[in-house]
């Protein structure tokens, strides 16, 4: 374990959405730390709250029907209580955000160069010329071949990979200490994915920034992450260094997730799946282990009443105690009975 300074500390974060006059927690008691010079991957299936977590950090959640309670500490200050004005000073300057779909995240009627300069206008005192030069430098840095020409183009004239490179150029324009990448490679094909990930890591190593990489692609996680947080139904259920997580997964959900990756060497007739669905926000169990309904063969006594995170080895945290009694063999025999 290297000792690195924490950049962003999230303590007991609850984000709730209002649905018909009742608030439901989309993020429930999340504790996470993003350190300097690391890639923290956040994985989980659709609707588990990965993107909500990201938008809560930068204050992008829709106002009016959302409440955020808890602490998001950056430089000792709690971002949750920040006003829009104060947030604006931090967003873009200290925290860069990379969106999932670069086509919709770029303004269709603004030239690429102007969009890159946008962040610089508000956070630096550069002159027009300096900003132009910086924009070209950034485009060059993210591997765009003809920066002068691309800067004058509109987003629809670029390919998907180039657009994502532009998004990254925008995010790193002010050299942020923290980068939040919300599924940056989902909209791209596999070869471009690899290029974009390499680029992200390369930039991260230059600036010692911390990257929070949100994804549902375990292949991506294995390739680039240093630590992994697994989320399920709005909670972080397991945090571990990447090797530890892949080699020694503890929580039943993590194990099922890893088990459901299609593998050629394993001789299975069917793809391994996890039974059931993530409960929707309105039907979320009020207390107890949120994963319990999907592993019904594990006896109720195995779960904690109020599941907590337990550190089982340095840096490896697991929520609830049900992992101790969970095993796959049991699941397979159960399925055999059902069939």
């Amino acid at each position: 374990m290297t000792l690195s300074k924490p950049l962003l500390e999230i303590n007991h974060l609850f984000t709730s959405f209002r649905i018909k006059d009742t608030y439901y927690d989309a993020i429930h008691d999340v504790n996470l730390t993003l350190n300097e010079n690391e890639v923290l991957a956040i994985v989980g299936e659709s609707g588990c709250g990965k993107s909500t977590l990201a938008t809560s950090i930068v204050g992008l959640h829709p106002p009016g029907n959302t409440t955020v309670i808890g602490e998001i500490l950056y430089k000792g200050e709690n971002l949750v209580n920040y006003s829009e004005d104060k947030l604006n000073k931090i967003r873009g300057n200290d925290i860069g955000f990379i969106f999932q779909d670069p086509l919709s995240a770029l303004n269709p009627l603004m030239r690429i160069g102007d969009q890159i300069e946008e962040g610089l206008v508000f956070h630096t005192k550069m002159t027009d010329q300096e900003r132009k030069a910086r924009a070209l430098e950034l485009l060059d840095q993210v591997g765009i071949v003809n920066p002068e020409r691309v800067a004058r183009q509109f987003p629809h004239q670029l390919s998907g990979g180039m657009r994502q490179r532009v998004m990254i150029a925008i995010a790193i324009a002010c050299k942020p200490r923290i980068m939040i990448a919300d599924e940056p490679t989902t909209a791209l094909d596999v070869t471009i994915q690899a290029q974009i990930l390499d680029l992200l890591i390369e930039l991260q190593q230059e600036t010692n920034a911390g990257i929070m990489l949100i994804t549902h692609d375990l292949g991506v996680v294995a390739e680039v992450a240093t630590r992994v947080a697994v989320m399920y139904a709005g909670q972080v259920i397991e945090v571990a260094p990447v090797e530890e997580l892949f080699r020694n997964p503890k929580h039943p959900y993590t194990r099922s997730l890893l088990n459901s990756i299609p593998q050629t060497e394993r001789d299975h007739d069917r793809l391994q799946v996890i039974q059931g669905m993530v409960p929707t926000l309105t039907k979320m169990p009020k207390s107890g282990c949120r994963f319990a309904p999907r592993i019904p063969w594990v006896s109720e006594n195995a779960h904690e009443v109020e599941p907590q995170m337990h550190e089982i080895s340095p840096g490896h945290l697991v929520r609830c105690t049900c992992w101790q009694t969970f095993n796959f063999e049991e699941q397979e025999t159960k399925e055999g009975v059902v069939q």
């Binding site: 000073k89 955000f97 995240a105 770029l106 508000f122 324009a173």
Partner: protein, 304 residues
């Protein structure tokens, strides 16, 4: 290496053909649609002609009553289009009247445009209480019987001139633009690029007017053009009813209202017909232009 190759290819491809954008699409649409093209030429001719010619006409001399020239026929006594009851030149009145109508229409369109777009974008972007407040205000203004209130204003304002007329009209006409813009801004504000701008720390004002507004431009061009067509008729209509500009100002509405008299409508056609035709041509022409613009803003309807 491979990327270099792709890049060169892209450049070559671009030289061959790029999809037409912005004003080139509009121009192509006009070239395909002969009526719209004709309308554009005629409307431009009328607008420029009246605005350039009007300052050369002596208004005092024009409106002086000379009984000798009462209802002079076209061509008589040097009146190209004849004279009205007071012996005033029809052509002169036509030009000044057209100029007034057009200037009023432009002013109202600009004022309602600015106000409507600003309120619309602010409502659409912020939503919530601000949106609710303005939308209820707009609902209220729409339910008011605007014509009657305008007539009341016209009679009670002591020093009544072109500018007070424009302001009274604008107070009632910005609401429809605001509603339209708000509905589009509402959907546009929820797009990712707005969130992306926010994550860069861009201020709300810059996001609204530099980010969102250009994306509404196709809607705005069409809306403002069609508003302009409607506004050309406003001054004429109210003057016809007797509540428009002061009597001493030559106006198309005054000329048309001569047709209230049965003998005039039956025998003195030159008094009211040119003004009526001018209004007809202007409004139709602007509508045709607006429709061509509307088509060019929507790829499915385009002819070109």
């Amino acid at each position: 290496m491979e990327q270099q190759f792709n890049n060169d290819q892209l450049t070559e491809h671009e030289l061959e053909s790029t999809p037409a954008t912005g004003f080139r699409v509009i121009w192509r649409e006009f070239k395909k649609d002969k009526i719209a093209m004709g309308s554009l030429i005629i409307v431009a001719f009328i607008i420029l002609g009246s605005i350039i010619w009007a300052p050369f006409i002596d208004k005092e001399a024009l409106m002086k009553i000379s009984l000798l020239d009462e209802f002079a026929k076209p061509g008589e006594n040097g009146f190209i289009l004849g004279a009205d009851q007071g012996g005033s030149d029809i052509l002169g009145q036509l030009i000044i009247g057209a100029r007034n109508s057009i200037v009023i229409a432009i002013a109202i369109t600009v004022i309602t445009g600015i106000l409507g777009v600003a309120v619309g974008i602010i409502c659409g972007y912020y939503g919530g209480i601000i949106d609710n407040f303005f939308m209820r205000l707009i609902d209220f203004i729409i339910t008011l019987p605007s014509t009657m209130i305008i007539i009341v204003f016209v009679t009670i304002i002591p020093k009544y001139d072109v500018w007070s007329f424009i302001l009274i009209m604008s107070a009632f006409m910005w609401v429809s633009t605001a509603r339209l813009v708000r509905s589009k801004a509402l959907s546009e504000s929820r797009r990712d690029y707005v969130s992306a701008s926010k994550t860069m720390g861009t201020s709300d004002f810059a996001i609204m007017f530099k980010g969102i507004m250009p994306n509404l431009s196709s809607l705005l061009i069409v809306e403002l053009t069609l508003n302009f067509a409607g506004n050309v008729g406003i001054e004429t209509g109210l003057t016809f009813l007797g509540f428009g500009l002061p009597d001493t100002t030559p106006s198309l509405g005054t000329l048309v209202s001569f047709a209230n008299n049965q003998t005039v409508i039956a025998e003195k056609w030159w008094v009211w017909l040119p003004a009526s035709l001018l209004i007809l041509v202007l409004m139709l022409g602007i509508n045709y232009i607006g429709q061509a613009l509307r088509r060019s803003a929507d790829a499915k309807q385009r002819l070109g």
